[in-house]
């Protein structure tokens, strides 16, 4: 139901021109207005919190679709930030929102200051759900100025923000924004990988070389099978991360997030290779997905951060405890 609405909205209102503007770092106000009108920023909230009360499976589908449609707005981030703010009992965002953790910020005389690095669409946000240690802050737009510009591999902006703000909205942290963000990104990765597989199947069915469609070659078929395997892993990984997030198990978030990040790289590589040179251009839509996959796999804690976290848990479990730990993830 929500999925259908999301699909229709972006198929209607998100075209090549808008994607091109977003790559220039331009905000798409009309499209964002439509996102708000649909209520998407509150989509992950329970009914008591004023949200849609979606089942986990439907939440996942909505997030996957944002990846499948390569939506060039921080919709997923806003959904995740609002869930975090709602759980902490803080005011929700009145526009787009970001989420971040920055433990080296300083709090002195009620004033929070320091730099938050590389926030998606930082110039255009209404607020930031920011964790410092075990506290969550609702930092309004007036609480930061832009310091360094930054650009993601899909050319969407990632400016760093200089926070200088007298704290007036904080609460104990309900769960980690990195975990929340990593989970959301896992769903987007699964969605974008599915789009990449769709495009790759279409291309290899219609592109004729040596007198036959590419996908009639066994070597191409085997690459398609591998791509389908990466997609299956990414999709399961996102679900695994989401369930672990709901339980508050960072090991499970790490496991799901890591496998999705890995699938992003493996899958993008196969899809591009199967497209041949056209997949390396902006003339063909594949780049929307590959460049986003390469972006998302390194955000909200990197590969090393999550892999060492899970690796440490595995070492602590040891010979006897390793398998029982795996069955808990």
């Amino acid at each position: 139901m929500l999925a259908d609405m999301i699909q229709r909205l972006f198929e209607r209102s998100l075209g090549d021109a808008a994607q091109s503007e977003a790559r220039e770092g331009k905000w798409l106000p009309a499209l964002w207005a439509e996102v708000e009108e649909m209520g998407l920023p509150l989509a992950l909230l329970s009914e008591e919190q004023g949200g849609f009360g979606l089942a986990p499976a439907d939440q996942g589908e909505a997030l996957r679709l944002l990846g499948h449609l390569a939506v060039p707005l921080p919709v997923a981030e806003t959904m995740a930030a609002n869930r975090l703010l709602a759980e902490a009992g803080l005011p929700l965002a009145e526009g787009a929102a970001g989420l971040a953790r920055a433990d080296d910020l300083t709090l002195a005389d009620g004033r929070l200051s320091g730099t938050v690095h590389r926030v998606a669409w930082g110039e255009n946000l209404d607020c930031l759900a920011l964790a410092v240690g075990n506290t969550l802050y609702h930092v309004p737009r007036s609480g930061w100025t832009l310091t360094e510009p930054g650009t993601a591999l899909n050319f969407h902006p990632r400016p760093s923000l200089a926070i200088d703000w007298v704290v007036d909205a904080s609460a104990p942290l309900p769960h980690d924004p990195l975990a929340e963000g990593a989970t959301v990104r896992a769903f987007q990765i699964a969605g974008a990988l599915e789009a990449a597989l769709d495009l790759t199947l279409e291309h290899t069915a219609t592109r004729v070389q040596f007198g036959k469609p590419l996908q009639k070659n066994q070597v191409v078929q085997h690459e398609l099978a591998k791509l389908a395997g990466e997609l299956a892993c990414a999709t399961a990984a996102a679900d695994l991360a989401a369930e672990a997030l709901a339980r508050g198990d960072l090991r499970g978030v790490a496991a799901g997030s890591l496998r999705a990040r890995e699938a992003a790289g493996n899958g993008a590589s196969i899809a591009t290779q199967m497209h041949g040179a056209i997949g390396f251009t902006r003339e063909h839509p594949l780049h929307l997905f590959t460049t986003s996959l390469w972006t998302w796999r390194d955000e909200f804690g990197g590969q090393v951060f999550w892999a060492t976290l899970l690796g440490r848990a595995a070492m602590a479990a040891g010979e006897e405890g390793y398998w029982p730990m795996v069955t808990e993830l």
Partner: protein, 384 residues
């Protein structure tokens, strides 16, 4: 929307959680004394005693009807027993094939008499099965089967050769895939399955095929005008191809498709202890993430089996991705801990590593090669 759907597996119920605890205690009691090297044999281990203990405790034929010695439990409960067996490196060879594929095939296609005489023995852990599919000239191309069974009164006269039959020298039965009419050129037509008693079939000789590690679990079965009672026909004559595809779906559906080298992971953790740097921790983390996701996909397959859905395509993906995991684990281990693997050493890490390196090549061959599986997946994507 081209994704191959994997339904979300349900969270473990209280029954499933309780069963996991009970079964772990059962394994500790019966197998707690075994060494890491022994555990790393995994499903190449063969122990009639252990299989009988499994049967007595109700851990075989778990999903089957009670009238045939089964326990009418869920696919998830069976899944717990299967995965915990493998994670523990239990010697499952004397019940594995029967419980996984032969029994389910007999339930699906067998006569009442076949069900009554064979299934209770499997569920009790007393009847072991081998697989009778591959031939010297028919491996991945199963439809090229030449083994011929000619009806002669109340017997079939069987002539031909089957290979790679694990434990044929120990087991009681195989389900033989053979040709009951026509020639190999007829492909899927004219094939059938026969239940062959390995202990009591004159004209059948069984010879070992020694693998590269010096182990004897494979065999060649040679049938020379061997008489198999006609009442041992499984299912319908001529319907062998559909039946054998169904049997392969059972064969491919389980978690044994990524847990074959799990003992090496345990020993790697111990070998690393005290010198784990961030790069090592990250590699362990990545491998663990891959394993956790494989397990989730595999549990999705169990969910599909529980719902009586066809999981053939999903199972092919799990086996393809899973075989890569279990097969490449020794390479990752070798990047983290130096050791010269030794097949005869008592040292845990070097001994387990040797066993895994020796056996790993077979994991992307058995039950359908990697290439066959990728063909199945590609077909599922609509490419052929």
């Amino acid at each position: 929307m081209s994704a191959i759907p994997f339904p979300a597996p349900p969270a473990d119920s209280d029954e499933v959680l309780a069963l996991r605890g009970e079964f772990r205690a059962f394994l500790d009691k019966h197998l707690g004394h075994r060494s890491p090297r022994q555990r790393s044999d995994n499903w190449y281990g063969f122990s009639r005693d252990f299989s009988r203990a499994m049967g007595q405790a109700g851990y075989l034929g778990m999903t089957w009807p009670k009238q045939y010695g089964g326990h009418e439990r869920s696919a998830f409960e069976r899944y717990v027993v299967v995965e915990e067996s493998l994670a523990y490196g239990a010697p499952v060879g004397a019940h594995w094939i029967a419980d996984r594929q032969s029994g389910p095939s007999i339930i699906k296609f067998g006569t009442d008499e076949q069900k009554e005489t064979i299934l209770p023995g499997i569920a009790a852990g007393k009847l072991a099965f081998g697989i009778g599919m591959s031939e010297p000239d028919s491996g991945s191309d199963l439809a090229a089967t030449r083994t011929k069974a000619v009806r002669d009164g109340d017997v079939y006269r069987v002539t031909g050769t089957k290979v790679w039959t694990s434990f044929a020298h120990e087991a009681d039965y195989v389900i033989l895939f053979c040709r009951t009419s026509g020639t190999p050129a007829d492909r899927h037509q004219g094939t059938s399955q026969l239940l062959v008693n390995l202990k009591d079939t004159p004209g059948l000789t069984i010879k070992p095929i020694i693998d590269l590690a010096g182990q004897h679990h494979f065999n060649e079965m040679h049938f020379e005008d061997a008489a198999v009672p006609a009442k041992n026909l499984l299912g319908a004559e001529g319907d062998g191809w559909n039946q054998v595809m169904s049997e392969l779906a059972f064969e491919r559906s389980g978690p044994e498709r990524f847990l074959s080298s799990i003992e090496l992971m345990y020993q790697l953790l111990e070998a690393l202890r005290g010198r784990e740097d961030d790069a090592a921790l990250a590699m362990i983390g990545r491998l663990t993430a891959q394993l956790a996701v494989l397990r989730r996909l595999s549990r999705s397959v169990a969910a599909m089996l529980q719902a009586k859905e066809n999981a053939g395509l999903q199972a092919a993906i799990v086996k393809d991705v899973g075989a890569v995991w279990e097969q490449t684990l020794p390479d990752f281990a070798r990047q983290l801990v130096d050791a010269e693997p030794d097949p005869r050493t008592a040292a845990a890490y070097a001994g387990v590593l040797a066993n895994i390196v020796h056996n790993a090549p077979s994991w992307s061959l058995r039950g359908g090669t990697r290439e066959i599986l990728r063909g199945i997946i590609a077909r599922g994507l609509g490419t052929r």
